[in-house]
Amino acid sequence: MIKLCFKKQMQTPQGLEWLDIDLNIGRGEFVTLFGKSGAGKTTFLRILAGLTEPQEGYIEVNGKVWYDSRQGISLAPRQRQTGFISQENTLFPHMTLRENLEYACGSKNLHGSIEEWIVSMGLKGIEDQKPDQVSGGQKQRAALIRALVCRPEILLLDEPLSDLDVPSRLDLQDKIISAYQKTGLTTILVSHDLSEVFKLSRKVFVMDHGRIIKSGAPGDVFVNDRFSGKFKFTGQIIEIQKDGVLNIVTLSIGNQLSRVVATDEEIAGLAVGSRVVVAAKAFNPLILSKDESF
């Protein structure tokens, strides 16, 4: 069981705000912190890892007090041994992937374990390369092994997937799930990707302005609030072509291009570059599998 109760003043784009946390996480749970940038998610993880000190509070992990402002207890990060993975690459650049893992093990004789992890995470054959010689996904997989191989008390994942392309992201999500199932480690993931939250965690804490405003199963927290029979996307006009009495408007929506027919009245006041909302309702959409496209 992890008991967290702390306060920390943090600088956000909106000015000074208080990170005010009071929650418990069960041993072996996989939970997600979800929220906008500046909500305090990363600071939350850094406080837990001992990299940032709160103003006051109490942190207990599996029966051991890591931080108690009243008693003056504050364990250093190295005494806490959290498996911490951030979105930036923190593999040591002068070491090969294998040397990074061996460094994590230290004097503990875990070479069999390292080999097993290298194989199961699909790094066999590139383990003697340096980090700058492998892809972003491979780096994050190596970082995941490095965090796990020294057998931490908890695993803290600070948006480790955010800089990856979609195939690497999906692959690493699967690797995280299999690592979680293998180790049973209490895991806290920071994410602002809903599909990731649904896929990975059983419980989500929604943060806003330094506070937990909602918690529960992802389905309960998000679906009930956000369910809508209407599609609505934000896009940008990249071309308007006149075609008889109508206009064909080409839009960029996310990474997709889409063409929409519009009347002169509908495009009045709009030009190439205008940001628009494209909405559709009163029809039943088709759901097609995309798995084969990967």
Binding site: A76, Q81, F92, Y103
Partner: protein, 219 residues
Amino acid sequence: MQPLVLTFELALAVTGILFVIGVPLACWIAFSRSRFKYIIETIVSMPLVLPPTVIGFYLLVVFSPQHFLGHFLESVLGVRVVFSFAGLVIGSVIFSLPFMVNPIKAGLQNFPPGLMEASFCLGKSRRETLFRVILPNIKPALLTGIVMAFAHTIGEFGVVLMIGGNIPGETRLASIAIYNEVEALNYDTAGLYSLILVTISFFILLSFYYLNRKTLKIF
């Protein structure tokens, strides 16, 4: 050749001593949150702006047997600092200190904090993180400090003349010998000393830039 040998002995000794004291000092300056850090930084950088003769003069005064420290060293420990090789080493260490400390400090300050934090989270101590993670990744800065301190010591004149004087075989360095030979109108000898110094300094700097190029390529 004696002045040249003495010069390189001095440069080696000073660089070794500066490396041993420069790395911890640079670490303290780079990572300390002390309010008085800027005072230490100012003292370390003073030789960059002071005329060498000023530092030489103060060292001469402090270490002269008429003053407390010089008297103590000579009467209790039997060490005479002024007009001796030991004096040259002390003066050169002080005078070349910023050339070792400042590049290493810059390397440490530019070192990504995420890498240090990753090492701490893996259960590693500050010392282990310094030796296994930080120092191997700031090799260009370390190399710059070593070469700058070495090259600067070879080229010293004012400080070493003030504290060491001009004793043949003991404190007469190449730079002083060149000055001596010119004063005695022995231009050939002065030219030979100068040519050797120029050649050796050129090759030291050349290998430094070559090695640094390779090091930067690795990282």
